[in-house]
Symmetry: C2
Subunit: 412 residues, 2 copies
């Protein structure tokens, strides 16, 4: 069962926004056995919308369209689809009332733009959008299903999760797709390819393998397609076990589990807490921990010490040590880790200090020099990383390395 | 001058990664007058690559392809393109040496996969990739240009910036495209549409307007296409000035300037410093400030206080006040702001405390209840936000609102 996604909006084509919707939708569709074979981003123009949709309908039986459903004049999707499917736009009274209520709750009177939002194509099936005022429309033509949704991510996600995915499962009988992703760190792509060569050559034909490198992490994805889910599950378990035998030290998780959740699980299992003292990572490690629900159980807090004064006054780094070795040094990062561990009264502390760039490097300490330390109840260790010229990448990779140091310590 | 982008990789189609490359490329191409009319994401399959490329070549004169150039067996782009353009794969000696050196620097011997990376199509033009081992290939056929680049973002960006964009400017004579984005906060899409109705109706025909809502911020984009850049610049200035007259209070910046940089500029201009005390935003405000180079001038540090103990011990929030009003309260968030201002010795402090969700809400304080406070030299203010059920959205919108409060104060 194949589907295509079409995203409408000039903002994507001029690079003003990144299309995050498609990835999210593709993942959800995969989980119910629908394989996305193509994603197309087009502009808010009638002829582009019609031709892309017609082409997609020739190739697949399901086309999901997002975007162009806002209340403003640049949004033409609803009108275009109504014309294409030869339907008239009529007022949906329920939708009209919902829009009116939503606006009233925020003290805004209904205007002409809102009234137009309550119009829907007369023979389309309307899927409820509890998160906004744009309707989700389900069209059918010659056995094909075409769905139009708003492009605002949380509205689209709400519609998919609260109704549309269920409707699609009922409508289509789908074949089984199984993905398993193995999260690998500390080993480069071509070295890994060589280590896995024999294993890869002997994979069953129903298994497709992909190497997905990203800053600090390499993901190995096994994709299986077949009719018998149990059999696919058996094969994927068997192959994963073989993989772990080949690279036992380098696997830190599965299925896109982020590094901070691998650490979180170890902390929770042991009933331990963590805090961070961040200089070059600027709060990113704290932000990673706290983006997950329930993190207050193991994550207690952080001190972002972006100035030497704060390293001294809050983290109790020794002034002489700071002067002698500089902020980016083993001595200072170790004192930061111990300082924050004591200040926040946590079991484990992570500290970072480095030159994120693009400026601030010296011959001795070029941009990308980062010191990372871990302090535990009876533990203090540190390591120096030689990273890159790019600030964003340095913040990301330094955060991952620091988290990974703690992970390895907790796994001992 | 129109171009299309094709991204190759199953990881995009199953939603494992978000295609951020296309947005970046589109923006850079726009800046040199090349308009991206379509972005297509396809799988690592020969027939998909060939058919998508053939279709794109029928529509536009430039096709940029990313992905599928890694050293592993799932990467088939180079072979597919060589076959399509009827070229033989031959060793590029310079590339071979560069790959060997790069690996040697990391202590890795060259293997068969690396040797294959040094093969290039014999009549393609090779653009240097200083950031990795995959080649960038420039093909020409019947007046059309087809470019294949690696999909790893920092390699692709390096290739574009350090050579390819210049080559494209030389090769194509391009018409002028001008975009201006106006950043708006505190006003909803349909209300704004009504306020701007007259202005919008009177826009010159060369101007296209788009409303781009996102959590906490609405962007208004004016896009102009023409031959005379000076004239386009004059028109856009004129129209922006009219816009500022209509909504003077709601515009905080232009051209995708993020809120934290609007605040940063005001702080820098006044020679003032800032720090944060974050509970529900978990370090995200600190992370936003510190993702920008040079932030150490105005951003001094942060305390992420995810537990009541830390609010008390580090930020000096009164224990009785915490007990009486709870952590998510006006009293506590104001004490947090004052506490961190004094602790970090900064001019201004931002504090947040709220229920980010999805759990932890009560009838009195449901998920999405967030208190934000600003403390200045002779200033203390706070406000309550009633946000959403979604954790990620709440962290983002609370951060933006807090930053905006400080911005308004600094602008007074």
């Amino acid at each position: 069962m194949q589907a295509e996604i079409i995203t409408i909006g000039d903002e994507i084509l001029i690079g003003q926004i990144v299309d995050t919707n498609s990835a999210w939708m593709a993942k959800e569709l995969n989980a119910i056995g629908i394989n996305v074979s193509k994603i197309t981003s087009i502009s808010d123009q009638k002829e582009d919308i019609v031709s892309s949709m017609e082409q997609a309908m020739e190739r697949v039986s399901l086309v999901l369209i997002t975007g162009g459903l806002g209340p403003t004049n640049d949004d033409i999707t609803k009108k275009t689809l109504s014309d294409f499917f030869e339907m008239a736009l009529v007022q949906d009274d329920l939708l009209y009332e919902r829009i009116k209520e939503r606006l009233a709750a925020r003290g805004i009177p209904m205007n002409r733009f809102n009234e137009e939002q309550a119009l829907v194509p007369d023979r389309a099936r309307i899927i409820t959008n509890n998160y906004g005022t744009a309707p989700c429309m389900w069209f059918e033509k010659e056995g094909k299903v075409i769905i139009s949704m708003p492009g605002v991510p949380f509205e689209m996600k709400g519609i998919m999760r609260n109704g549309l995915l269920g409707n699609l499962t009922t409508h289509f009988s789908t074949s089984e797709i199984l993905h398993k992703t193995v999260m690998v760190q500390g080993i480069g792509e071509s070295v890994l390819a060589e280590m896995l060569e024999e294993w890869e050559a002997n994979l069953p034909t129903c298994v497709k393998l992909a190497y997905l490198p990203s800053p600090g992490v390499l993901r190995l994805r096994l994709s299986l397609i077949g009719e018998d889910r149990k059999e696919l599950e058996r094969i994927v378990e068997e192959q994963t076990a073989k993989l772990i035998e080949i690279i036992p030290e380098n696997i830190f998780g599965f299925d896109d589990q982020p590094m901070e959740l691998a650490v979180a699980k170890l902390l929770s299992d042991k009933g331990k807490t963590v805090g961070t003292a961040e200089s070059c990572t600027g709060g990113n490690i704290a932000h990673l921990f706290t983006s997950h629900a329930g993190s207050s159980i193991y994550f207690k807090g952080a001190v972002v010490a972006y100035s030497n004064e704060i390293k001294e006054s809050v983290l109790k780094v020794n002034a002489d040590v700071l002067l002698k070795f500089g902020a980016v040094s083993q001595q200072v990062v170790e004192q930061m880790a111990m300082g924050v561990r004591d200040l926040l009264n946590v079991d484990y502390a992570i500290a970072t200090s480095g030159i994120a760039g693009p400026d601030g490097g010296t011959d001795e300490k070029p941009v990308g020099t980062v010191w990372v330390a871990i302090a535990g109840p009876d533990h203090l260790s540190s390591t120096k990383l030689d990273l890159y010229k790019n600030r964003e990448r340095n913040i990301k990779v330094a955060s991952l390395n620091a988290l990974n140091m703690l992970r390895k310590l907790l796994e001992k």
